[in-house]
Symmetry: C2
Subunit: 360 residues, 2 copies
C-alpha cells in the first residue's frame, strides 16, 4: 500500500492506494469520530463492494445506506434533496460521517450532501472507478449538475481520508476504464512530458489492466493533482490548468445529453481539440496534435469527433462554462506539449475552425 | 456611521451601521470586483429600497435582480434552484457578486446561493430587518429549510461587507420589529447581565423606535455576536450558545408551520422555556424566570405559550434539531441569568414539564 498526504493546512488528509485495502478497518475507522455512518453508493457498485466496506466498519456504528441509480443524471439537486430527506428522517446528527462508495457521480453528489447537510459534516471517499480514483477524489470539489450546465452547483469540501482500492477496477467495463485514462493522460499533457513518454510506452500494458502499471498511473495522477491543488485549493490560479479539455468536454456532454458521452470521453476529445486549436494559433506542431490523438486512441478513447451536434451550438454551450470570466472565454491550451496555459484572447475564427473540424 | 470589523483571519469583513448609508456608493463599490452584480430581494423590500441600492451601484456593472416572494416558505431548495437557473440563464460568471437586500430569509437564501453557485462567489449583505441586522448578517451562516427541519441545508459563507442602514427599520411592522428584539435580548441573557439591565431601562424607548437606542442595540448585538463568532467560526464550541432558545423555538416554528410564528417570536418563547427548565433543574430562581418573561413582554413578544400544539409533538421535533448529537438532546440553558451553558443530560421529566407548561 502507498499513502500520499494532501497538504492543505487545516484541511490535510491522506490518500491510501492499494489492492484490497477497502477491507482494512484500520484505514477507515480512525477517521470516523461520531457514532453514525451514512454510506452513499449506487445500484452497480453496492452489490459488488458494499458488503466489504460494511465489514471493515464492523458493528461500531449506527450505519445507514442510500443506493442511487447509476449514471450522470443522478448528479442533480433532486437526488441531493432525496439524500437530505433520508438523512433527516433517520435523523443523522452533525457528528455523522458520510462515506461515498462509487465513481465520480457518487463522490460528487455525496460530497455535496456532506458539505451542505447541517452546514457540513465529515466525509470519506472510497472511489471505485479509475476516473474517480485519479481525479474527483482528490481536491475537494463536490457538486451537482444543473440542466443549464455541469457542476454549476457545489462546494469545496475536503474528505477526511480517501481509500483507493484498485481491486475495484477489475469490475470496471472497458469504456469506463478508458474514460478514466483520459484524466491520467491529462496530467501528462498539461505538465509532465516525461510521463507522456512513459504512457506511450506502457499504454498496451495499462489497457490490459496490468496491476503494477495501474498502481503507477493512480499514484502519479494523484500526486500530480495534489501538487496542483495544494498550491491553489479554491481554484484562483494554477488549478485552472486541470480544466484542460474540460471547456470543450463539458459542451460535448451537455450537447449530447449528460451520460451519452462519458465525462472522460468528452474530456479526451476536448484535449485533442485544445491541441488542434493550439496548433491553429501557432503554438504546437501538427506532429504534436497527432501525438495527442495517438495516445488517446491507444487508450481506446474517441478521437474522430462528435456526431449530430452543430459547431455553433457547442460554441454557445462553451460560454456558460465556469471558466468564463466577464463574458470572456478562457481556454486551457498548450504553450508546448506538456505545458498548458490559460488563454483568454483566442480568436473566434480559430475556435470555430476547431469546432467544425471535430463535429461530424 | 460606525464600523465593526469581524476578524476571521482570511475571512474578515467590515460591518457598517448608520442611517441612510445604503445610498453611499463608497461603502459598497470597493467590495465589488467583477463586472456583474446579482441582487436578490423580495416583493416587500424591493419596492422600498431597491432603487436606492441600485443608485449606489451606479452604471458601473451589469446588474440583474431577482425578486422573491415574501415569507419563510421562500427559504427552500426550490427557490434556491430558481436562483441558480436565473443566474445560469444570464449567465453569471464566477466573478459575479451576489447582494442580499432584505431580511433573514433573503440573506440566508442569497448567501446559500452565493456559497454554492459555481462552488462559491462573492456576497454582500444589506439587511433590512432588525432581526437580520442583529443576527443573521453576522457570522456567515447561510442556508435553506427542509420540510423536516429548519436550516438543515446550508453552508458557511462569509460576506465581503455588511451594510446596515437602520433607516430601513422605519418601514418595519411592529411584529417584525419585536421579533428582532428577541435576538437582541438573547445576547443579554446568554452572556451580558449588564446589557439586560440596560434593556430593561430602555425598552420603552426602543419600542418607540428611538433612533439612538436602536443604534445602540444594533451595535451591541453585532459586537456580541461577532465576538463569539470570531472565537468559533464553524460552531464547534462557544458559538453554540447563540442557539439559546432555538431548540425550543425551531420546534415551535416547525409545529405551527413555518411563518405562522416568526422566528424571533419562537426564539423569544424558547428563551423563556429555557429559563423555566433551568429553574426546574435548580439553576435559576423563579424571580429570574419572571424577569426573562418581563423583558420579552416589554418587547411585545408572546410569553404565554403556543396554542394547538401537543407537548410530545414539540418534544419529537426537538430531536431533529441540529443541536442533537449522537441522539442526545443538547440544550442551551442558564447556569445563572446572563450566563448560558450547554447541557446534554437534562432529565426528560423536566423537559416535558416545561413543554406542558408552555403549550396551551
Amino acid at each position: 500500500m502507498k499513502t500520499l498526504n494532501i497538504d492543505l493546512g487545516h484541511h490535510s488528509y491522506p490518500i491510501h492506494i492499494g489492492k484490497g485495502i477497502m477491507s482494512n478497518s484500520d484505514l477507515i475507522r480512525p477517521h470516523i469520530h461520531g457514532q453514525q455512518v451514512f454510506v452513499i453508493s449506487n445500484e452497480i457498485v453496492a452489490p459488488l463492494y458494499l458488503e466489504r466496506l460494511l465489514a471493515a466498519l464492523g458493528d461500531h456504528y449506527v450505519i445507514a445506506t442510500h443506493i442511487l441509480p447509476d449514471g450522470e443524471q443522478t448528479k442533480s439537486l433532486t437526488h441531493a434533496e432525496a439524500v437530505f430527506t433520508k438523512m433527516l428522517e433517520l435523523p443523522c446528527d452533525r457528528g455523522v460521517t458520510v462515506i461515498a462508495l462509487g465513481g465520480g457521480v457518487v463522490g460528487d453528489l455525496a460530497g455535496f450532501c456532506a458539505a451542505c447537510y447541517q452546514r457540513g459534516v465529515k466525509f470519506i471517499q472510497v472511489p471505485t472507478t479509475l476516473l474517480s480514483q485519479v481525479d474527483s477524489s482528490v481536491g475537494g470539489k463536490t457538486g451537482v449538475n444543473h440542466p443549464l450546465g455541469k457542476n454549476m452547483i457545489g462546494a469545496f469540501h475536503q474528505p477526511e481520508v480517501v481509500i483507493i482500492d484498485n481491486q475495484t477496477l477489475d469490475s470496471l467495463d472497458a469504456r469506463q476504464f478508458s474514460a478514466g485514462l483520459a484524466e491520467v493522460i491529462k496530467y501528462a499533457l498539461l505538465g509532465d512530458i516525461q510521463f507522456l513518454g512513459w504512457l506511450e510506452e506502457n499504454m498496451p500494458a495499462i489497457v490490459q489492466r496490468d496491476e503494477s502499471a495501474i498502481s503507477e498511473i493512480i499514484e502519479r495522477s494523484c500526486r500530480a493533482k495534489s501538487h496542483i491543488v495544494a498550491q491553489d485549493e479554491k481554484e484562483q490560479g494554477v488549478r485552472a490548468l486541470l480544466n484542460l479539455g474540460h471547456t470543450f468536454g463539458h459542451a460535448i456532454e451537455n450537447a449530447k445529453g449528460y451520460g451519452v458521452w462519458l465525462h472522460g470521453e468528452a474530456v479526451g476529445l476536448g484535449m485533442l481539440m485544445a491541441a488542434d486549436l493550439s496548433h491553429r494559433i501557432g503554438m504546437i506542431s501538427a506532429a504534436d496534435v497527432e501525438r495527442v490523438g495517438d495516445i488517446l486512441a491507444a487508450a481506446a478513447l474517441p478521437v474522430k469527433g462528435v456526431a449530430d451536434v452543430d459547431a455553433s451550438h457547442l460554441r454557445a454551450l462553451m460560454s456558460v462554462d465556469k471558466k468564463v470570466m466577464a463574458g470572456k472565454l478562457r481556454l486551457v491550451l498548450y504553450r508546448s506539449l506538456g505545458e498548458a496555459e490559460i488563454f483568454d484572447t483566442v480568436p473566434e475564427a480559430q475556435i470555430m475552425e476547431t469546432l467544425e473540424r471535430y463535429t461530424l
